[in-house]
Symmetry: C2
Subunit: 338 residues, 2 copies
DNA sequence: ATGAAAGCGCTAACAT
DNA sequence: ATGTTAGCGCTTTCAT
């Protein structure tokens, strides 16, 4: 902390400029002097002050990423991918947690949102999208959004095709012979929830079926349990298949079904979404839709790099394809229950 | 990015010093001038350059936290708590992912590990503890470790009593009437794994029982499945209760048991550890050991604040108590199976 | 209450 | 190949 470039200069007998050159691998330093400097650096245990560097260079070498929670396999996958790709580009990653407590005002205190803290920002799945965009554009910080919810801006965005995911999930169920199929969605505030639902509806219509029920649930929660429990308690006929908007919801659905004595997938097939890490380990192993997290991270970094370098980026809206993972929680339709 | 304190000074007709005073809420500015400055700031959309501030102040106002993965409920809980408590102290949080690819050398490129990037660091559950400690001490960056693995240093540390957790989990099983009890542990490289195992062993001994089996598994993986599958395939007698070192392992154990036609907890009771978010939603709902994540984060921040302020901190080793969460995956012993 | 001047640690011209 | 000089944007004495 105390030792600075002057100390190194003094100790090595060189000027601070030469020290700076060594620090930045300038080719114009005599090897002998270079060594002197290197020795002094090691001896003094010196490392350059990055605030000073940032100040003079006008850039930080760090990319920020905002996230809302740390307990999600999809987020984790995206972040790991971002990390790798950033490293390839010589940037480091700083993650910031952004709380999204309902209608609480946008948290401008977010430490990342300073031009002198980061060179660019990746916004991962926020609900306060408009506020972020406004702030970031005002500050002229390059950024890219992942899992954007509004469709009508020209902001660089990477989404996974949720319509397709919902459609494929439903087609899977239909292909298995199911006819009475229900959907429990995420909050409609999320574009992804609305799109998955649309994919569901369209697949049903296409097959000449009408949805057994569609209920708005909540992503990442276990609302599936209470919803199914109510459904059962009311004496409604149980659909033979259910498309849950994510794996947490699916888990809740399955539990309530099992508690009521139904067999999954024997009596009812359930498909989730996201391929959470537990999906492959619960009993029955969850059939689900996997998102291409690696690609998402890769493209996010790519776009951001282009933005930072001022390249003209046209295809600023990217849509990737999800993938069906067929496991054990869905099976052929075997006749009606109840 | 371009507008600086000079621009504000010019526009407001004040000197940069006065602007600075306003920025820092100095009481010695005439209200009228204060307004002028505030207006100029707003009009120019100015926000102070934090690199310059850091440079001159010698401190950053940010606390760093290193973490290895983002898909863990315990980590998430700790981080959320850290975040809250940091905010109370006027600090912001920067998270950095530290990969721990086996024996890969310590990743010194971690962007947090600069005195001029953070004022202090929280190291969350790393395996490369010694490397971190050496680096951080060399750089004289205040830090605190959570879930430390070595017992023999004087580093500020917050752990949850894993011995007690293992002990309580096992006592729970014993109290339920079980006698043939097995344990699948985490990697012994983790102190927490060794301690949970010891708690298990001691509780068994105390009850005059001998462990049905103890197998080293791997935290956070679903090794429980293959381990139980092998056990069953070999025609061994199934223990009537199993203590899995974490919830992921427990999930694997339960699945293999169910696949083999056993009932949980009817035939075999299974207890996990950590109370992952899915634990309350799988079927059967997992009995587990919950860690006091809120307290962990709170104390971590507290200790770090003391360290930064140079206060003498004696009780630099803190040990918190875990809590048994009795749900559905464990039940009274009902006689032998097989 | 306000301002002038010095300097935080570094790099980028511009000499030499 | 190396050094001199001038800032990057801000805060902090020290005057006034």
């Amino acid at each position: 902390m105390k030792v600075n470039i002057f100390d190194v200069a003094k100790k090595s007998g060189m000027s601070i400029v030469t020290v700076s050159r060594v620090l930045n691998n300038a080719p114009t330093v005599r090897e002998k002097n270079r060594q002197k400097v290197l020795d002094a650096i090691k001896e003094l245990n010196y490392s350059p002050n990055s605030a000073a560097r940032t100040l003079v260079r006008g850039k930080t070498g760090v990319i920020g990423l905002t996230i809302t929670a740390l307990n999600d396999t999809v987020f984790d996958g995206v972040v790991q991918s971002v990390l790798e790709n950033l490293k390839l580009n010589g940037y480091v990653l700083a993650i910031s947690i952004a709380h999204e407590l309902g209608n609480e005002s946008f948290d401008a205190s977010n430490f990342l949102f300073h031009h002198d803290r980061v060179d660019g920002i990746i916004v991962l799945s926020t609900l306060q999208e408009e506020a972020y965009i406004a702030d970031l554009e005002r500050k002229k910080i390059p950024f890219v959004m992942i899992d954007s919810h509004s469709e009508h801006n020209n902001v660089p965005t990477i989404n996974v095709d949720n319509y397709l995911g919902g459609y494929e999930a439903t087609k899977h169920l239909i292909a298995l012979g199911h006819k009475r199929i229900a959907h429990i969605s995420g909050q409609y505030a999320f574009l992804s929830a609305r799109q998955r639902k649309e994919g569901f509806t369209d697949a049903m219509i296409e097959a000449g079926l009408s949805p057994s029920m569609i209920i708005e649930g909540e992503f990442g929660t276990y609302c599936g349990h209470s919803i199914m429990q109510n459904w059962i308690a009311q004496g409604n006929q149980i659909p033979s298949a259910i498309f849950a908007a994510d794996d947490m919801i699916a888990l809740g659905v399955i539990r309530s079904l099992m508690e009521a004595g139904y067999n999954v997938p024997g009596d009812v097939s359930v498909i989730g979404y996201d391929d959470q890490s537990f999906a492959n380990e619960v009993h029955p192993r969850l059939t689900t839709i996997r998102q291409p997290v690696g690609q998402v991270g890769e493209h996010a970094v790519k776009i951001l790099m282009d933005l930072i370098q001022g390249k003209q980026t046209k295809n600023t809206k990217l849509q990737l394809k999800p993938e069906l993972i067929f496991r054990e929680s869905t099976a052929k339709y075997k006749g009606d229950i109840n």
